[in-house]
């Protein structure tokens, strides 16, 4: 009665097989002991120890699976009025705004790879000429801050259909000009409020915020929304992304 219609997506488990296999009883026991020690030694830094990290990352992989069950594919995030939009948007990257390397829109190409039928690269002009969808949604950063942003651009599902992507594949990866990588599960990629953003508040996106192309989805934390995209890859193979490699939760659903 309470079973989801589809079985739980095993992709995260498969992708983290190494981690999950690492949860043997000895490790859990060791983790528990460390946890016990932690309660006695407040302030001591044990969180970087390998067994503790292994255990916590396995919990994070479990949380990925829980979140994919919680996710409602047709449920829309709250939207807001243009008057509530913050201009300019708040900058965030793994480096300072002064270190942003602007992209030349004329020579930029969007590469397509993986399980996509038509892999011809796209120019900025071609993408900007596609039908644009506008969403005014809340950006939630993992740190705790948030703001209302007004984004427009081609709907990602429409784009993936147009290029003949395998919509039954597990992941959509975004490779970025600043060597950033992010990936989202296919369910989030097909969500009606997931777009390849080209404009912010009716203006072409400025350099610090991802010109010429970035991802904007209403269902993920800020860091999942890759900026300065240079390639989109549709795949069934999980590889760690920029932040998940460092221990941040991969699914990062909101």
């Amino acid at each position: 009665m309470f079973r989801p219609e589809r079985p739980v997506d095993q992709s995260v488990l498969t992708g983290n097989r190494k981690l999950v296999d690492a949860i043997d009883r000895r490790n859990v026991l060791r983790g528990t002991l460390s946890l016990g020690a932690l309660t006695l030694l407040s302030g001591c830094d044990v969180t970087e120890e390998e067994p503790v990290q292994t255990f916590l990352r396995a919990v994070s992989a479990w949380n990925d699976r829980v979140q994919s069950v919680i996710f409602r594919p047709d449920h829309l995030a709250p939207t807001f009025s243009p008057a509530q939009v913050v201009k300019p948007p708040r900058f965030n990257a793994y480096y300072d705004v002064a270190d942003v390397k602007p992209i030349d829109g004329a020579s930029w190409r969007l590469e397509l790879s993986g399980r996509i039928a038509d892999k011809r690269p796209w120019t900025a002009r071609q993408i900007y000429d596609l039908p644009q969808q506008e969403i005014i949604i809340r950006h939630v950063c993992v740190e705790g801050w948030d703001y209302i942003g007004q984004w427009s651009g081609p709907n990602l599902k429409n784009f993936l259909e147009r290029v003949g992507a395998d919509l039954t594949a597990k992941y959509v990866y975004f490779h970025c000009n600043d060597d950033y990588t992010e990936s989202i599960d296919m369910a989030a990629a097909l969500h009606p409020q997931t777009i390849l953003a080209t404009r912010y508040a009716n203006e072409t996106i400025a350099d610090p915020f991802g010109y010429p192309l970035r991802l904007r989805t209403s269902t993920k934390l800020g860091y999942k929304n890759a900026k300065w995209i240079r390639a989109i890859e549709v795949t069934n193979t999980f590889t760690e992304t920029f932040w998940s490699e460092q221990g941040f939760n991969w699914f990062a659903g909101i």
Partner: protein, 229 residues
């Protein structure tokens, strides 16, 4: 009751003849909760520090769990399972066994004023650990309600889109953060009183480890309202 008399009885006989102030499930869940609260507060402070609500308030590094942001988050989203599952088990047990009704209800206003008066005159009685005074009853019930609210606000923070109806009850995203933070503050306040009083009357700590004094096994007698001192 002497230790030797306990030894002479088998565990099964003991269960039949004696009921302790804190039955084993309560003790186990109490200490699991203590560990969970410790993890949640320490890691929560780390998460808070990365984007503070109040410019004047940063938690010292010595008191937080998780060296970097991701570690604080990892601990928090691990600890939440212990806190929520153990909390649900505790609430179910407390309601199903009648413990909450027996120990925490009713709260009489007269008894409340009397207890506060006694406390101010340093005449607070603690010779009978099995009876909770009105202030204790209010604190225990209150911290349980806060515990429920901190989970609900945490759920709204974690999933403001999937549970958007729940999140909208609070208002903006920052309001949810504030509610979550204030619940934490209330719990820390409770802990300060709870731990200070436990240290002042150490037999309460012993009771939470060994079970404490035997209470009458006649449930009907327990259910009767206890006279105010």
């Amino acid at each position: 009751m002497s230790a030797s008399s306990v030894k002479s009885l088998t565990r099964k006989e003991l269960a039949h003849k004696e009921r302790r102030l804190h039955p084993l499930p309560v003790r186990v869940m109490h200490w699991i909760n203590a560990v969970a609260i410790f993890i949640m507060i320490g890691s929560g402070w780390k998460i808070y520090n990365d984007d503070v609500l109040f410019g004047w308030l940063h938690f010292p590094d010595a008191l937080i769990i998780g060296k970097w942001a991701q570690h604080g988050l990892q601990w928090h989203f691990f600890g939440m399972w212990i806190f929520v599952l153990n909390g649900l088990a505790y609430l179910s047990y407390g309601i199903a066994s009648g413990r909450f009704r027996q120990k925490l209800l009713p709260i009489s206003l007269r008894e409340l004023f009397a207890t506060i008066g006694d406390a101010l005159r340093f005449h607070l009685a603690h010779d009978d650990l099995t009876h909770y005074n009105a202030v204790q009853k209010i604190l225990y019930l209150g911290v349980m309600l806060i515990g429920i609210l901190i989970v609900i606000s945490g759920l709204a923070l974690w999933k403001p889109v999937q549970f958007s109806d729940l999140a909208s009850l609070f208002g903006t995203f920052q309001t949810i953060r504030l509610v979550h933070f204030l619940c934490m503050t209330a719990i820390v306040g409770f802990l300060a009183v709870h731990i200070a009083l436990a240290l002042l009357v150490p037999q309460t700590i012993l009771a939470m480890l060994t079970g404490g004094p035997v209470v009458k096994s006649d449930a009907a007698a327990d259910a009767k309202p206890t006279p105010a001192r």
